[in-house]
C-alpha cells in the first residue's frame, strides 16, 4: 500500500527552511535552463517566421549570406522574364533584385559598434514581403537618400529615431520611418531605395533576387532550370527554406544552455540529496514505525522518491514563473551567418517549459534516490530504537 501524499506534504512543510532552499535551488537551475534555451528558440523562430511561401530566393552558389552573394545585371536580365515567374496585372514579372550591404554603425547606449544590414529594395521587393509594415513616419522616396529602419533595431542603434540622420562612409542618410518585420529576420534590417544603395556603396551587382513564382511546381522548375544553366552560377530555393536554414547562431547558445544546465543540476542534485538525507535521518523512528505497521520497503522508497520529485516539481514551476517575465523581451547579438546584428527575443514555448519541468523532476528523482534507498533499507527494530 502506498503512503498517502499528505504525509509527504506535511513533512515538507515541517522542515520549511531546508525545503525552501531546495525548491529555490531547483527553481534557479530551471530558470537558467529555460531562459538560455528560450534565446535559441527565439533565434530560430525569427528565422522561421521569415519569408512568403510563394516566393523563391536566388543567391550566388556557395554564398552563406545575402550580403556576400553577388548577382550580375546580365544574370538578372537573363532570368527575370522566365515563364515560371509570376506577372502582375500589367504583365510585369513580380521580381526584385536587392542589394544588401553591411555597414558599421555606433550603438545607442555605448561607444561600441554594430554591423547592420542595409537592404536596397525596389517597390516590387516590398510587395514581395507583405509581412513588413510601416509603424512610424513614412516610406522612403526612391531617388532620395532616405531609409526606413526596423523599430527594434532603432532601440539599439544610435541616430535611428525618425527624422534623425546618420553617416555611413562619406554619405549621410535620413531616417524617415520605422518598419516592423512581424518578428522576422527583417526586424534586423534597414531598408532604402535599391538604386541609391547601389550608388552610394558602389555596387555594380545585386546581392539577391526574390521572385514570386506561378505555383510550387514552377518554383521547382525555376530552381532546376537555374541549376542546369551553365551561365548562371546561382542557386534558387524557396524563401522560407532559405531563412529557416539560417540558424547557425543558435547552436552555441544551445550548447551553453546544456552545459550550464548539466553543471548546475549537479549542484541542485547535491542540495536535494542533503535535504532528503537530513529528512530521512530525522524521521528514522517514524520510518521504523511505518515498517512495523506493515508498510513495505517499496512503499517507503516510493514515498521518498515522490517527496523528492514533488519538491523539485514545485521548484520547476517556480523556475518557469521566474523566467516568464522575460518572454518577448527583445535582445540582439551577432549572427554567424551574416556577421551582422540580429534582433530576436526570448521565446518561452510551452514545450520548453515542459522540458524544464521534466528536467526538474529528474533532478528531484536523482537527488532523492540514495536517501530513499537508505530509508527503505533501515531495519525496523534499529530504526525504532534510534533516538
Amino acid at each position: 500500500m502506498a503512503l498517502p501524499l499528505r504525509y509527504n506534504l506535511r513533512n515538507v512543510i515541517v522542515r520549511w527552511r531546508a525545503t525552501i532552499a531546495t525548491i529555490l535551488g531547483v527553481a534557479l537551475v530551471v530558470a537558467v535552463y529555460i531562459l538560455v534555451q528560450s534565446l535559441a528558440v527565439g533565434l530560430e523562430k525569427s528565422s522561421r517566421n521569415t519569408g512568403d511561401s510563394r516566393n523563391v530566393m536566388i543567391v550566388r552558389k556557395g554564398s552563406t549570406a545575402e550580403s556576400s552573394s553577388q548577382i550580375t545585371r546580365e544574370q538578372f536580365q537573363l532570368l527575370q522574364y522566365w515563364p515560371q515567374i509570376a506577372r502582375d496585372g500589367r504583365g510585369q514579372p513580380i521580381v526584385s533584385a536587392d542589394v544588401v550591404v553591411m555597414v558599421t554603425l555606433p550603438r545607442r547606449e555605448s561607444t561600441a559598434e554594430a554591423h547592420v544590414l542595409i537592404r536596397g529594395i525596389t517597390p516590387a521587393g516590398m510587395k514581395l514581403r507583405p509581412q513588413v509594415s510601416l509603424v512610424a513616419g513614412r516610406w522612403f522616396v526612391p531617388g532620395r537618400r532616405e531609409v526606413v529602419v526596423s523599430q527594434r533595431l532603432a532601440a539599439r542603434i544610435a541616430n535611428f529615431d525618425v527624422g534623425a540622420q546618420f553617416k555611413t562612409g562619406s554619405h549621410t542618410l535620413t531616417v524617415v520611418g520605422w518598419l516592423d518585420g512581424a518578428r522576422s529576420a527583417f526586424d534586423s534590417e534597414v531598408w532604402m531605395d535599391a538604386n541609391e544603395a547601389r550608388s552610394i556603396y558602389h555596387r555594380d551587382n545585386y546581392s539577391s533576387i526574390l521572385a514570386r513564382v506561378v505555383n510550387e511546381t514552377a518554383g521547382a522548375a525555376l530552381a532546376s532550370r537555374i541549376e542546369s544553366d551553365k551561365r548562371l552560377p546561382l542557386r534558387a530555393l524557396p524563401e522560407v527554406q532559405y531563412y529557416s536554414a539560417q540558424t547557425m547562431t543558435a547552436m552555441p547558445i544551445r550548447i551553453l544552455g546544456n552545459f550550464l544546465a548539466t553543471a548546475m543540476s549537479i549542484g541542485a542534485v547535491f542540495a536535494a540529496m542533503n535535504t532528503l538525507y537530513a529528512s530521512v535521518g530525522a524521521r528514522t523512528r517514524e520510518i521504523g514505525t511505518l515498517r512495523v505497521l506493515g508498510y513495505r520497503r517499496r512503499s517507503i522508497l516510493s514515498s521518498f522518491l515522490v517527496e523528492g520529485a514533488l519538491l523539485a516539481l514545485v521548484g520547476g514551476i517556480l523556475g518557469c514563473i521566474l523566467s516568464l517575465p522575460m518572454h518577448g523581451y527583445s535582445t540582439g547579438t551577432i549572427s554567424f551567418e551574416s556577421f551582422s546584428e540580429v534582433i530576436f527575443e526570448f521565446s518561452l514555448t510551452p514545450w520548453l517549459m515542459a522540458k524544464g519541468l521534466i528536467f526538474a523532476v529528474a533532478v528531484g528523482l536523482v537527488g532523492s534516490l540514495l536517501p530513499a534507498l537508505r530509508a527503505a533499507r533501515l531495519p525496523p527494530i534499529v530504526a525504532l530504537n534510534s533516538v
Partner: protein, 381 residues
C-alpha cells in the same frame, strides 16, 4: 582535544553531509571559474606580441566593403610605415564541411616576417611559401586538427568570392597567439577569381610605438573624402570592436554567473544551518559549560568557512589544473585557445567562497545566540 580538532570533528561528524556540501561548493565554483574564463577569452581576446606595432585599415562603411588596391602605394609613402600587406578574408569551407571551421587570409608572403614576426617556421618553409604562388601556410592547431602536414593539399570553397581554390601546404607555423589561420598569396586570390584590384583590409607595420598615433591618423586623413574612406586603428582596437558585436551575450553570461553564485549561497547556507540545528543540544551544553557566545560563533564560523574553503580548493583547483594542463584548443576543436585562469579570476572565486562561508554561518549563529540554555538542553534532536 585542541579547538581545531574539535571543529574538524564536528564538521566531519556527518561525513556524507560534509561531502555533499563541499562538493556542491566545488561544482559551483568550478562553473563560476569556467564561465569567467570563457567570458574573458571572448571579450578580451589574447593579444599578440607584435600587435602593438600593427595598424589595421578597413573601409569606413564596414569590413565587408572592399578597398581599392591603389591605396597601397599611398600608405607606403606615409612616414613611419615599414610595410603594408593586403589582408583579405577568404571565408572558405574546407573540403565538404558545412561551415567555416578555420579562417583563411590572402596576403603578401614577402612581408610575412616583417608584419607577423611571431609566426615561427623553419627557414626552408618560408622560402617555399614565398616561391610557390599556390602555396599556403597553416597554423599548428588547425594542422593538428585535420592531421595535415607539409605537402598536403587544402581544397577550399569560398563563401565570399565566387571561386574554389586548392592550396599546397608549404609550412606549418606556431608561436602566434592564434595558431589556427591559413595564409596564402593575395596574387593567387586575384587570379583564381577573387576581385582583382580590390582587397578587404590593409595590415600595416609601423616602425615604432611612438609613431603609431601619427601614422594611424595620417592613413585616415589620406583617404578622407575619397571614394573609399578608410578607418585605421591599432590591431587591439580592431579586435575589441569585434567583441562589441557580441551585443547582449556578455550581460547574459554575467547574469548567469550571479545566479550561480546566489544558488550556491542558498544551498550551502541551508546545509550549514541544517548541521547546526542538529547540534543544538551540544551547543547548549557548551553554553552551560561556560563557553561564551563569541566562542560558539567562532566554532560555527570556522566550520562553515572550512567547508567552503575546502570546496573552493577542490573547485578552483580542478578548473585551474584542467585548463592549464589539458590542451583546450584540442578539446574545444579550436574554439577557445588559451582559456587562461588568471589570478584575478581565482581571487574572485576565492572571495565568493569566503563570503559564502561567512554568510552561511550567519543564520545558525543568530539561532544559537537567541537560544536559552534550558531550551537548548530540552531539544531532542
Amino acid at each position: 582535544m585542541t579547538i581545531a580538532s574539535f571543529i574538524t570533528k564536528n564538521a566531519l561528524r556527518n561525513k556524507r553531509r560534509a561531502l555533499l556540501c563541499v562538493l556542491s561548493v566545488a561544482v559551483s565554483l568550478f562553473l563560476l571559474v569556467t564561465l569567467q574564463v570563457a567570458l574573458r577569452e571572448v571579450t578580451l581576446p589574447p593579444e599578440d606580441v607584435g600587435a602593438a606595432l600593427r595598424v589595421v585599415v578597413r573601409n569606413k562603411i564596414s569590413i565587408s566593403s572592399p578597398l581599392p588596391a591603389r591605396q597601397r602605394a599611398v600608405i607606403e609613402r606615409i612616414p613611419g610605415v615599414e610595410a603594408v600587406s593586403p589582408f583579405s578574408f577568404f571565408g572558405g569551407k574546407y573540403r565538404n564541411e558545412e561551415s567555416m571551421s578555420f579562417a583563411q587570409f590572402a596576403m603578401d608572403p614577402k612581408l610575412l616576417r616583417k608584419i607577423f614576426g611571431e609566426a615561427k617556421m623553419p627557414e626552408n618553409q618560408y622560402a617555399a611559401f614565398e616561391a610557390d604562388q599556390t602555396a599556403c601556410i597553416l597554423g599548428k592547431v588547425t594542422a593538428d586538427k585535420y592531421r595535415l602536414k607539409v605537402g598536403d593539399r587544402v581544397p577550399l570553397t569560398s563563401t565570399l568570392y565566387p571561386c574554389s581554390i586548392e592550396l599546397k601546404i608549404a609550412g606549418i607555423y606556431e608561436g602566434t597567439i592564434d595558431d589556427r589561420n591559413l595564409l596564402f598569396h593575395h596574387k593567387y586570390l586575384d587570379e583564381a577569381g577573387g576581385s582583382p584590384g580590390w582587397v578587404a583590409m590593409w595590415w600595416v607595420k609601423v616602425r615604432s610605438v611612438e609613431e603609431m598615433p601619427r601614422v594611424t591618423e595620417a592613413i585616415n586623413r589620406a583617404f578622407a573624402s575619397s571614394s573609399a574612406e578608410v578607418r585605421a586603428e591599432t590591431e587591439r582596437a580592431f579586435q575589441l570592436s569585434f567583441v562589441a558585436m557580441w551585443g547582449n551575450i556578455k550581460i547574459m553570461v554575467h547574469s548567469i554567473c550571479t545566479v550561480v553564485v546566489f544558488t550556491l549561497v542558498l544551498v550551502t547556507a541551508s546545509t550549514m544551518s541544517m548541521a547546526i540545528r542538529e547540534r543544538f543540544r551540544e551547543l547548549a551544553v557548551l553554553k552551560a559549560l561556560g563557553y561564551r557566545r563569541r566562542e560558539l560563533f567562532a566554532f560555527i564560523l570556522a566550520e562553515s568557512f572550512g567547508l567552503a574553503a575546502l570546496g573552493a580548493i577542490i573547485g578552483i583547483g580542478t578548473a585551474w589544473t584542467l585548463f592549464t594542463h589539458a590542451s583546450i584548443a584540442k578539446l574545444t576543436q579550436g574554439i577557445f585557445l588559451t582559456f587562461e585562469v588568471t589570478p584575478r579570476i581565482i581571487g574572485q572565486a576565492a572571495l565568493v567562497a569566503a563570503s559564502l562561508g561567512i554568510i552561511a554561518s550567519l543564520a545558525p549563529s543568530i539561532a544559537v545566540a537567541r537560544m536559552s540554555v534550558v531550551e537548548g538542553l530540552k531539544t531532542l534532536d
